[in-house]
Symmetry: none
Subunit: 475 residues, 2 copies
């Protein structure tokens, strides 16, 4: 009688003995089935004869067969032996893992929204992480409070009160994976209450409008003028709420604002419009969602405090480490009216790793965060000054709009030149965004030609070259 | 006015400061209630006055009160302050509370779902984090690929193929913040396609059913018998889909299964039911969501490979570091059919910090993960063996159900005894879960009395005492 296994012509590449033998046999057989070398319906040799053939223990073969039967690769039926299972779909070859390159970037990059990643304080962060993990109780590594670690919420409550005038205590803070995640949870909250509409500023990020749309909320832009969004008109916007009467005339339930530094236009909301937003929220039971994405960075004066300080019961404050440290940390925070904390935490707490949370808490309480922000503020301020000076020198008719703050500036261009400038810049190896991509599709404001220059993005060594490339691309 | 606390005459033996303060206060108060020094109905001083009395922060007291309310030792009602809870069962004579106790927990804890947090490899993890951050390009700290870091997805593709028989490449993996987060995204995906129903097993976690309900999906339990859920009946379940015809007779779009180790019942899905699930998915275009939460831990044989290996186009594999390392990392992963990757990543990628992702990639590729899992497997196997032996000795009529795997076991109890046993255990300082809390409200299966014993939860030093407390609590 021929050896049945030899007949099948499979080379198993088995280790001769030891604990890896069974696994090796199982893997080899699975691979042979998967790649089609053993066709569906093929009858396998008995465990006794394969064991003899391979010179191994019969149990090893029987166990391997049993594993593969359990996984569904083989079938075993009384009287018909062990066969390769029938499979409707042809097996796909296992592809080798390909090392994918990061999406290609041009050599010069002024895309807004990212800080200088080369200045991330790696050594200090690792030190903080080590200290924090050394001090953490075992309990910290569990599922824990859906709002986030108490150490971080306590440190944030102190920091936000001190630096941004936020009125809170640790119990009202929910840690999240950055601003977008927090916004998504708030959108879900509004939808769960049957609301369908959210007011936004006429310029902003389409990624935010899209994620709100995916939660089921329509975004309607506020009217705006050169001072910013007209919050005094909030009362005119209506929700097409599920719960609204037949005339659908309920007030919009919430508005998303950048009161301290509008993105991308760069203005600060005037005091009377801050008051109007809070007054509207009080009057209608509405919510102001305050996106304070770069509240650490103001260069000409002390930054205006958070709107939340005016009315902690009607403003949700959203902050992030994405601009002050790095987006890769995925660390953001919401300061919520007490009545919303439990519901928001239930919708999506426990998103961010405890070790990052503990490291940030240590970073904040040790003063390392303040030191880092001071150094970063100086760096970005110098860049902004250099940008203003270079433009005054080389393109004097172009003005830098907005307040001296944050990581980006808006350069107004002659009508009709935005798109050609962006395209020309790309040909020179400079990645640039025009203002038009930030305009809400339903915005009533007149489009203007401008660039949104993220001067925070380049590493220090590339800054001079990037600025030069920008000046060369301007009309 | 007399100091109210002094009136109560309790000596708290508190550490004067530091992170142990809240825990110390919580323990001392619990002990006072347990031993009857604080009688049921006694009104406690306000957190403000007790804080002043003890010279500590008010929040510390408020937190301790909240912990004890959550544990049921105290009650808090608007207008009547915080009082010692009424208790139906008189307290047993007290053992001394252990010093290592975690806040808000009883001294002995067999709650399932958490590994032994004291065995988290802190030093190795920090080493991996340092090496990973040293090697990472600046770019890694940016917003990055919504699927997660390529280093981690590459390491996972290799690891999952090797250990769990998963067929994938790095492009099909989306990193998420744990299983629940992945499930939420998949629920959103189904809802975005107008689907309304998801099939589940009759026993599982209410937290999962609740989060699916919040995405707008109704969960319908499969019929089941002693072999597990009857996946051959999947075709009988219907979706009340938005897009269905007037008879609403579309197939359910997806089923959530634990094929390798059912939680909590502990069985493995038999081969023919694995095949039936995949066959149903192919026939109807449905999806199997495979929850492989503890695939690293099988003690009696090599673990059955992932169901995903049978059909990568119809099975979403979900894995997590929450059982193999620690829930606090907030690291999970989905292996998706190629057609779903972009949509799922858009719904909620970028949830987990890059540094944790890079550290896990380094942990996997350096072999530290395998070493840790081997040590953990041995630890949990010994505990399971000790549990089985102790029961054979001290409660021989109680059987341990399910396969020898994972971090939990099911102990069948005489009818009508589950709730009294759980309550008696709590009074002895042992936190235990009965099986009934894991039963889906619409499950057609007959309820049985049983305990779900999370033998992975205690730290090593507490294991012997915990096992002893369990045996004493049994009928």
């Amino acid at each position: 009688m021929p050896k049945p296994w030899a007949t099948l012509g499979i080379d198993l590449h088995l280790e001769p003995a030891g604990p890896g033998l069974r696994r090796g046999l199982t893997d080899a057989l699975r691979e042979a089935v998967r790649t089609g070398r053993l066709a569906p319906g093929t009858r396998l040799p008995s465990s006794r004869s394969l064991a003899a053939d391979l010179g191994i223990a019969r149990n090893t073969v029987a166990d391997a067969y049993a594993d593969l039967v359990a996984e569904g690769w083989l079938t075993a039926r009384q009287g018909s032996g062990t066969r390769v299972a029938d499979r409707a779909v042809p097996p796909r070859p296992t592809r080798r893992a390909t090392r994918q390159r990061e999406p290609g970037r041009l050599p010069y990059d002024l895309t807004p929204g990212t800080p200088d990643l080369s200045s991330f304080p790696r050594a200090e962060w690792l030190r903080a992480a080590r200290r924090a993990l050394d001090a953490a109780p075992n309990d910290a590594l569990g599922y824990g409070d859906p709002r986030g670690r108490t150490e971080l919420r306590t440190a944030l409550a102190d920091y936000l009160a001190r630096v941004r005038g936020v009125r809170t205590d640790p119990g009202q803070i929910v840690v999240c994976s950055g601003f977008a995640h927090g916004l998504k949870l708030l959108g879900e909250l509004l939808r769960a209450r049957g609301r369908r509409t959210l007011a936004v500023e006429p310029y902003g990020l389409d990624a935010h409008w899209d994620l709100l749309a995916r939660t089921g909320l329509r975004t309607v832009p506020l009217p705006a003028d050169r001072l910013g969004p007209r919050t005094e008109d909030l009362g005119d916007l209506k929700d097409s709420a599920d719960s609204a009467g037949p005339d659908g005339a309920a007030d919009v339930p919430a508005v998303l604002l950048n009161p301290s530094h509008q993105f991308p236009l760069g203005g600060a909301l005037p005091p009377d419009r801050r008051a109007a937003a809070v007054g509207w929220a009080r009057r209608t039971g509405g919510l102001v969602l305050e996106d304070d994405y770069d509240g650490e960075f103001r260069y000409d004066r002390q930054h205006v405090g958070a709107l939340q300080g005016l009315d902690p019961d009607h403003v949700v404050y959203l902050g992030t480490a994405s601009k002050s440290l790095a987006p890769g940390l995925r660390l953001g925070w919401m300061v919520l009216p007490p009545s919303l904390v439990t519901e928001v935490a239930r919708l999506g707490g426990r998103s961010t790793g405890v070790l990052e949370q503990l490291a940030l808490a240590e970073f904040l309480t040790s003063g390392a965060y303040d030191r880092h922000v001071r150094a970063a503020r100086l760096r970005y301020r110098r860049r902004r000054d250099a940008l203003v000076a270079a433009l005054a020198d080389r393109a004097p008719e172009i003005r830098v709009g907005g307040i001296a703050a944050g990581l980006h500036a808006v350069l107004r261009l002659p009508p009709g030149t935005e798109e050609p400038v962006v395209r020309a810049a790309a040909w020179q190896g400079l990645m640039l965004h025009g203002l038009s991509r930030y305009r809400h599709p339903s915005a009533a404001v007149k489009p203007v030609d401008a660039l949104v220059v993220g001067y925070g993005t380049p590493p220090d060594h590339a800054w001079a070259g990037t600025l030069d490339a920008l000046c060369r691309a301007l009309p």
